[in-house]
Amino acid sequence: GRFGDFGGKYVPETLMYALEELEEAYKEAQQDESFKQALIKELYEYSGRPTAMTYAERLSEHYGGAQIYLKREDLNHTGAHKINNALAQGLLAMRMGKKQIIAETGAGQHGVASATVAARFGLSCKVFMGAEDIRRQELNVFRMRLLGAEVIEVQSGGKTLKDATNEAIRHWVANVEDTFYLIGSAVGPHPYPMMVRDFQSVIGEESIAQMKRMIGRLPDEVVACVGGGSNAIGMFHPFINYDDVALTGIEAAGKGVDTTEHAATLTRGRKGVLHGSLSYLLQDENGNITEPYSISAGLDYPGIGPEHAHLRDIKRVNYESVTDDEAMKALKDLCELEGILPAIETAHALAYVERHAKTMSKDDVLLVCLSGRGDKDVMTIQETLEADKG
């Protein structure tokens, strides 16, 4: 259950048996052809995989360097990569005979994905969400409720993703016998980071096949945004052994990594344990977790998946950060040049592309994981654009 030093299972004893049971069930499922087939069926016939690979000609010209390709996870059912993992864990929950799922959510994408899967499979669903995120992601909250899920407003701490996760874990501790905790990012105790990575690897696997078909080779660099890091790990993992492919993860620098308002865990964090695994963390000198900040509810998290911590330490993946302002600029560029409204999370990866593509040659290929669509973010975007106007 470790990635180098990172990972592990730092949870109350009450949950340990459930984690062992889950690990066992996951191992069995992996060996079971019928599970694989059921998952493929849901991914392809329900969620609409494979997602498209789009060449962004006008964006490439505008940024003036590498040729930019977009892996279109925004075209998934419910509008983000989250559904890949939610469908898989949902099938696992059914296999384990659990009738209730719980989930935490930040941007609401994982909450919507979980509520969707619960509806599709006939499970009951509770989604824990910070009060601040509920405000920022009104559309997704309503979608979850329409899908029949109960959205539980979390008032503790900064009222964002971290706090929602705490509450989800507390609920799980109290209801571990019949409840499946459907974790949405590559975080949490073992086996979650591994499981989520495996379930999201379809992104990178499809990308490899599509790139080979479209350009006859692999891209020179692959970019993804990193909050907990599930879209990034799903994209990166299949590329790990291709040493020629540079991998770059983009964290949220909020108002700047030199301010106190950011979520740049790898840039500014120290090793620590949050939500069951050892990784890098934003924390104070007493080991208290500090409140992260990002305009993006999905990146507003003080931790990061343990495998990312490991990939950073072994220098296989390069991690950089992007501010709110840079992300919003890149979001507008993609709208106006390619007709695609990305999630603000995703816009962080695109802002790096704006900065970086021009340093590359026109023969180079830069692949971006377009992790989700931005419809859920229009309120935030509107507020930001209006604030800019004065």
């Binding site: 004893e13 048996y17 701490g157 109290a174 090793k271 620590g272 050892l278 963390l281 977790i289």
Partner: protein
């Protein structure tokens, strides 16, 4: 020498161990409360370290942690308070109750050395299951500090493995869920606790949700003692104002009566 391992604790019956949060509502008040608990006749004290994300705790202890952090509490400060309590004459076993991240943040080695210096006896980390505890356990063993293990009803076949590592005492989580007071307990608990006592070489104390004299009596009868946390912490929180005054005799007296009442 580790007081948990001494005969006074090991051979006692009907142990009563309260949990309080260090620096709640202030550094000094929490030390006075500890001394008062000893006067009330408790057998050991769990000495809480405030933490931002206490995911095994319910709202009562979360809020105590928030108060303690505002009052400047933290891991180093908690051990400092323990040392001061010892200096003021505290003699019961003292167990540091902390989440793993503050320990990692200070460093395993330094934490254990600080605890030794403060003459503390045990450490209990609810989010450090035995699988992840090897390094810290070795350091504890070296310094003679007990790393307290927890067992839950959901531990199932893990119970035996854990009981083998039992040191000082074993904390039996009497219900699923986080800390907090509860109305009723599952019937099967009695059987499960007995099973654990059969294999454990140290006392088995029951905790989580024990809040009334009836609960205490019930668990004293089926376990080797009880741990009371949220009920006491709430009682303290209701006296925050008076405990913050220079003369805190009255609330301390009330706390003493509260404990005596619970144990009677």
């Amino acid at each position: 020498m580790n007081r948990l391992k001494q005969d006074a604790f090991q051979s006692k019956k009907e142990r009563f161990v309260p949990y309080i949060m260090s620096s709640d509502p202030s550094y000094e008040a929490s030390i006075d409360i500890a001394l008062t608990l000893e006067e009330a006749g408790v057998d050991a004290i769990e000495w809480g370290v405030p933490f931002s994300d206490p995911l095994a705790d319910g709202p009562v202890i979360q809020e105590a942690g928030d108060r303690a952090r505002k009052a400047g509490g933290g891991l180093r400060r908690a051990v400092e308070g323990a040392k001061e309590a010892r200096a003021k004459g505290l003699t019961v076993p003292l167990v540091l109750f902390t989440y793993i991240n503050p320990v990692l943040s200070v460093g395993f080695k330094e934490v254990i050395e600080l605890m030794e210096d403060a003459d503390m006896d045990g450490i209990l980390i609810p989010d450090l299951p035995f699988e992840e505890s090897e390094e810290l356990r070795a350091l504890c063993n070296e310094k003679g500090i007990s790393l307290i293990s927890l067992v839950a009803p959901s531990s199932k076949n893990r119970m035996e493995k854990i009981s083998r590592l039992g040191d000082g005492f074993i904390y039996y989580v009497t219900s699923l869920g986080v800390t907090g007071t509860r109305e009723s307990f599952a019937e099967e608990l009695s059987e499960s606790i007995q099973k654990l006592r059969d294999v454990a070489s140290v006392p088995v104390l029951a905790g989580f949700g024990i809040s009334t004299r009836e609960h205490v009596q019930h668990f004293q009868s089926i376990a080797d003692g009880v741990i009371v946390g949220s009920a006491l912490v709430r009682f303290i929180s209701e006296r925050e104002d008076t405990l913050l005054q220079a003369n805190r005799e009255k609330p301390l007296q009330e706390i003493k009566s509260f404990i005596e009442e619970l144990c009677s």
